[in-house]
């Protein structure tokens, strides 16, 4: 399969998320949206209009937010807890650990405007640690869709899955990558493009940049495989090992610190099973300077040209 960016039109994945949530909610009366004064930023206005009593807004209180979500699940409801990813994970991490994951509550945690989506609002509002934090907690799936189609598919999947899920949803516009009708499978990486010289692994808003980087590399005679690793946990070991064995080098790209996120998760699999040279791209362990989301991603070497450049440097290290 030779998947490329299908159109340059960009879409805010929050729209696909709430449209799908409403479709699920119209079939299943147990679906409840829970939020923290974030009706607007989580795009829940239409949901509130249609089912005012099924929108639980706890106010600006994230610890309470997640605890209430766990209680709703205990009471037989299917809560989708929606909040800015930075506050949902950072502020309520212990609630996520004890009330949701450890208690095995069927709560869907929806981290909105993840990564550096909030740009100029600065590091307090960047959710650059959530993969690392949540991935370290047992019994919770970590999923970061790459476009509106995968967002919709993953949201639908999460409703049918019994157990804790963290869905990471950006507000940064992304082009369509998957075709309509795509179904989401937990723990399965998608090979969006095959290649033999190296593999680029990305998810979320970085996947389309990875594909564009592979296209740039192709023009330079380098054949790059691209994996979309939407599920960071549980991780698709088979596809990662195959990529290491088949291509011998791996670049990872994530809208997250390079410590503990997607790149680290891939590296863990690679060192255990098939050591090959790697380059982890992401936020390099510092608080971001002021700038928009796209400025910051470029700044951290994740423009398509930046990713391609890192890939070329990695190739030079390949045995």
């Amino acid at each position: 399969m030779e998947l490329s960016v299908r159109s340059t039109e960009l879409h805010d994945c929050r729209d696909a998320f709430t449209e799908t949530l409403m479709a699920i909610a119209s079939e299943n009366p147990d679906v409840i949206a829970v939020c923290n004064d974030s009706v607007g930023s989580s795009k829940l206005g239409a949901f509130r209009e249609r089912w005012p009593e099924r929108l639980v807004n706890v106010g600006i209180a994230e610890q309470n937010l997640v605890g209430v979500g766990a209680g709703l699940a205990n009471g037989g409801k299917l809560p989708f807890v929606c909040a800015a990813a930075c506050f949902l994970t950072g502020r309520a991490l212990e609630q996520i650990k004890a009330d949701v994951a450890y208690s095995d509550a069927n709560v869907k945690l929806c981290g909105i405007s993840s990564g550096v989506a909030y740009g100029e609002l600065g590091p307090t509002h960047h959710s650059a640690e959530d993969f690392a934090w949540i991935r370290a907690i047992p019994n919770i799936a970590v999923v970061a869709p790459a476009d509106r189609i995968e967002t919709s598919a993953a949201t639908e999947w999460s409703a049918s899955f019994e157990g804790p899920v963290f869905l990471r949803i950006s507000r940064v516009g992304v082009p369509d990558l998957f075709s309509e009708g795509h179904t989401f499978e937990l723990g399965k990486a998608d090979m969006l493009r095959d290649g033999s010289d190296l593999t680029i692994i990305a998810n979320g808003t970085l996947t389309h940049r990875a594909i564009s980087a592979a296209e740039l590399l192709a023009r330079r005679g380098v054949s790059a495989r691209v994996l979309n690793l939407a599920t960071v946990r549980p991780i698709d070991e088979d596809r990662i090992i195959a990529a290491a064995l088949d291509t011998g080098a791996i670049v990872t790209c994530e809208e997250h610190t390079i410590f503990g996120g997607l790149g680290s998760a891939v590296a863990e699999v690679v060192v255990d099973h098939a050591p090959v040279p790697m380059k982890r791209l992401g936020i390099p362990g510092s608080f971001a300077p002021t700038g928009s989301a796209s400025f910051l991603l470029d700044e951290f070497g994740m423009s398509p040209a930046g990713i391609a450049q890192s890939a070329m440097e990695l190739l030079a290290r390949k045995a």
């Binding site: 004064d37 600006i60 209180a61 994230e62 909030y118 600065g122 307090t124 509002h125 002021t290």
Partner: protein
């Protein structure tokens, strides 16, 4: 400083803030307009701070816990001489020190980083405890939003401050009755706020948060109740000073169009003329 001078400064800060938000295309103008009179009174009348020595050990501390209104703080700090006036035009620009929430590691005059709501008061409690341990006489002020008080961390700090008898600590609540998406009363009501704080062991005073005389009086030294932390509930309006923004939740972080910007600026210019005439 006299009240007329303070009003003039507040008006100047409002105009600069409005321009900065308009030019940057982002900001939290509603909560900025509601807090500017309080910030002005603090920086130009109440606080013992020195722009030439922003880290002087005995300075008074101010924490703007509602960090989303950083632009108002930056403009006030520039007006007071902590940072160059020209720097305001870099607000939100790539690599500027002035991002959407204040950063104490970069901007002199900022005491601690805020942005996630519900952080300022616990830090303020620590500052006030430190002053007590050092037998120092400096005071600590924390400004929170009203919606912000829904965060449980505030109530943990409210209990701690009473327990520790922190009479050098003053909490100013910018009580503009609105949060991000709706009215506070319709979301998670705080009322009766004064009664709650009193029952938690605080001395409480309610004022008009846009009346410079009342603000100065409530915050000036010598009015503390011995052994009790103090809360000043400042009744304010979100968007205060700009008629079409005032008390309208839509203006939490909306950016004015050019036409709206010009209309708002005319209103603030009229207010300036009135202050000068009255003087």
């Amino acid at each position: 400083m006299n009240v007329t001078e303070l009003r003039k400064i507040a008006n100047r800060i409002r105009r600069r803030d409005l321009r900065a938000v308009f030019e940057a295309g982002a900001g939290h103008i509603g909560g900025e307009m509601s807090v500017i009179d309080i910030l002005t009174a603090l920086y130009f009348h109440v606080l013992n701070v020195d722009p030439a020595a922003p880290l002087a050990p005995n300075r008074d501390r101010l924490v703007l816990s509602k960090g989303h209104t950083a632009c108002a703080l930056y403009v006030t700090l520039a007006e007071r001489g902590f940072i160059p006036q020209e720097e305001i035009s870099t607000f939100l620009k790539p690599r500027s020190r002035l991002n959407g929430h204040p950063n104490c590691t970069k901007v002199p005059g900022v005491e601690t980083n805020t942005g996630p709501l519900g952080h300022g008061l616990p830090v303020g409690v620590g500052m006030a405890v430190a002053a007590g341990l050092s037998r120092a006489s400096w005071r600590t002020f924390v400004i929170t939003g009203d919606g912000e008080l829904q965060e449980g961390s505030n109530w943990e700090a409210i209990m701690a401050a009473a327990q520790f008898k922190l009479d050098s600590l003053t909490l100013v609540v910018d009580h503009n009755r609105l949060q991000q998406g709706a009215r506070v009363a319709d979301t998670n009501n705080l009322a009766p706020l004064a009664v709650k704080l009193e029952s938690f062991g605080w001395a409480v005073e309610e004022i008009d948060g846009h009346d410079m005389e009342q603000i100065c009086k409530a915050l000036s030294p010598g009015v503390a109740t011995t052994g009790k932390p103090k809360c000043v509930i400042a009744h304010t309006n979100k968007g205060h000073g700009i008629s079409f923004m005032s008390d309208d939740v839509a203006w939490h972080h909306k950016v004015p169009s050019r036409e709206q910007y010009e209309r708002a600026m005319v209103e603030l210019e009229v207010a300036r003329a009135e202050i000068e005439e009255a003087a």
